[in-house]
Amino acid sequence: MSEKTLPQDSVKTTVAEEKIAVATQWQLMWWRFRKHKLAMIGVVVLILFYLVVACVDFLAYADPNESDAQRGLIAPQTIEWFDNGEFKPYVHPLKGTRDPKTFKRVYVPDMDTKLPIVFFGPGFSYKFLGLIETDRHLFSVEGADAYKTLFLFGTDVQGRDIWSRLIYGTQTSLTIGLVSVALSLLLGVTLGGMSGYYGGVFDTFIQRIIEILRSIPTIPLWMGLTAALPNDWNVTQVYFAITIIISLIGWTELARVVRGRFLSLRQDDFVMAAELLGCSKARIIFRHMVPSFVSHIIAATTLAIPAMIISETSLSFLGLGLRPPAISWGVLLQDAQNVQALAISPWLLIPVLPVIVAVLAFNFTGDGLRDAADPYG
């Protein structure tokens, strides 16, 4: 009923009508996005995540692949934050012994010694952001090697530090999501755009392909394809092969969005006007049509990333994705496959948390972007 829709439509015109009239599309989107609280939280979380990706060596304090059977399955350490009422975090060093009855390794903290945790202390050398040579790390331990004494999230069976592995895994998993989505985007925009712009037989053909791909269970297909990757490929080759395989199947949703936008825009008056003015096809597409739906594509892309991350994690978890020595969230979770192992060392489940948080953050951000993508709607 007109009486009810009218006020809602015109809300935006009263709230600082002047300001809105002159605002650009991107300003309008930003104002709208800002109102979406969960999306704002999502953006902040994502920024933090990608900061981690950029500064892995700074955040990790141990070589993620250095194993030592003497340090296997240490539980996450308790950090004492205050020393005599003063903020001065420290840990007690652990001493590993073998339980005479069960023959399991147990670790006893040496309560007499205190190892103070130092922020921005020295550790192994690396190039910060690939440029600046430094040996500073977020955490280090005074008077000892951090990788031998500090176990924030414990260690795995082979004695590798889970905190450091998680940091490196975050880098892999989050970049693989981006690379796959970039490839999907390329396929989706090209095929979806052509499908929507030219229509006809080509459109029908692409639509059928999309329908077919969407009706096949993806995981078995992925498994079949990844299992065929040669065993002697190195980490980088496998990494790119996996991104390609994931994106080969993941482009359909993006293509659908792009095609839908093209179809609706083709009917719009401004496109018709450009056509009548004699603009070339390329100019119409790139100067007139694309800018008006870039926002929608950004939203759809953001929403597609979680699926990519989950796909990689699932495949690696099965042992069909990235292979050690590569580290990703899925590779880390492989250690958690065995229930008995889990029951004894539940901290192996820690990598579940970043997966869930990252997927949530991408979903919230994507939802916010989608709502903001139509500032005039």
Binding site: M1, S2, E3, K4, L6, P7, Q8, S10, V11, T13, T14, V15
Partner: protein, 334 residues
């Protein structure tokens, strides 16, 4: 049947507001009028003036966040009792007995007024079974009769079809058949002909008139089309921004209108006697935003006879200027 001078429905100072985060929209803000048995009352105004919300308020089907905040709606029921509709719960048994049985509703959009996945018959027999104590078979018979009475050919076949299988005109006839299936004493027709082409419009209006004469039914006709009003109505209420600005008999309104808004509306209708190739007068400005309703008389920013210091300071009230005509304007308030 009640006496002629006794209103079937009497609305007094009705206020229906929509409470939203951004502010309160006063969709209906103090509307008063009467509907008499066997007569047709026209409610006229631009879109957004609160016509439809008034109709929904009477039926108590205003959607959230809308709410009736003030006023009375008194209905004289078939048994002679007077009911105060604003005192009833929207989903109460009594209100539901009134809806459909005593007040029928016809909407502007006949296509979307029917469920797309239920047959026309399903929706018509449902109303009959609900309000009359009859068997399914009997309800179907009556449904076919109702369709026949609104001039739908082959009603025994049409009853099993879906709304999208009917043409626009037939659909609206079917909608009227549903609304009239329980012989209501008041029919609220909300822009019943707006979505139809001119020929069909005339047929539907004819149909409404015929049915009214047969059943002595009152009609509340909501429209923005003054032509329809002139043709159909006995009395007219002119609304602007949720207020009644003028009311009177159809002759009063068309031949001796008082309110500047009514006059402006009338002068914007093309007339056959008009000089050709002359621009039609329009009402300057546009309807103010519902959150930014002007203080004083809501029409003053667009009014040709605006009196500074009066119209923008105080609110005019609806006062009688003659036996049957009332107007809400300072020009006539001494």
């Amino acid at each position: 049947m009640t006496k002629d001078n006794h209103p079937l429905l009497s609305v007094r100072n009705l206020k229906t507001y929509f409470f939203q985060d951004e502010g309160t929209v006063k969709a209906v803000d103090g509307a008063s009028f009467d509907v008499f048995p066997g007569k047709t009352l026209g409610i006229v105004g631009e879109s957004g003036c609160g016509k439809s919300v008034t109709a929904q308020s009477i039926l108590r089907i205003v959607d959230a966040p809308g709410k009736i905040v003030e006023g009375t709606i008194t209905l004289t029921r078939a048994n002679g009792n007077q009911v105060e509709l604003t005192q009833l719960q929207p989903d109460s048994q009594e209100m539901r007995d009134i809806r459909g049985a005593e007040i029928g509703l016809v909407f502007q959009e006949p296509m979307t007024s029917f469920s797309p996945v239920h047959t026309v018959g399903d929706q018509i027999t449902e109303a009959i079974q609900l309000h009359m104590n009859v068997t399914k078979l009997e309800a179907r018979k009556r449904g076919i009769e109702a369709l026949r009475s609104v001039g739908i050919p082959k009603p025994e076949r049409r009853i099993d079809e879906y709304a999208f299988e009917l043409s626009g005109g037939l659909r609206q006839r079917a909608m009227i058949a549903v609304a009239l299936s329980c012989s209501p004493r008041l029919l609220i027709a909300d822009e019943p002909t707006t979505a139809l082409d001119v020929t069909t419009q005339a047929q539907i209006l004819d149909l409404l008139r015929t049915l009214q004469q047969q059943n002595q039914m009152a009609i509340m006709l909501i429209t923005h089309n003054l032509g329809v009003v002139a043709e159909m109505c006995d009395d007219v209420v002119v609304m602007y921004l949720g207020r009644v600005v003028e009311q009177g008999t159809v002759d009063d309104i068309f031949h001796s209108s008082k309110h500047p808004y009514t006059k402006a509306l009338l002068s914007s209708i093309p007339s056959i006697e008009m000089e050709s190739r002359v621009k039609l007068p329009t009402i300057t400005g546009s309807i103010p935003h519902p959150y930014a309703r002007p203080a004083g008389c809501p029409f003053y920013p667009r009014c040709e006879r605006f009196m500074e210091g009066v119209c923008d300071k105080q609110e005019p009230t609806l006062l009688a200027v003659s036996d049957k005509q009332k107007v809400s304007c300072f020009l006539y308030q001494k």
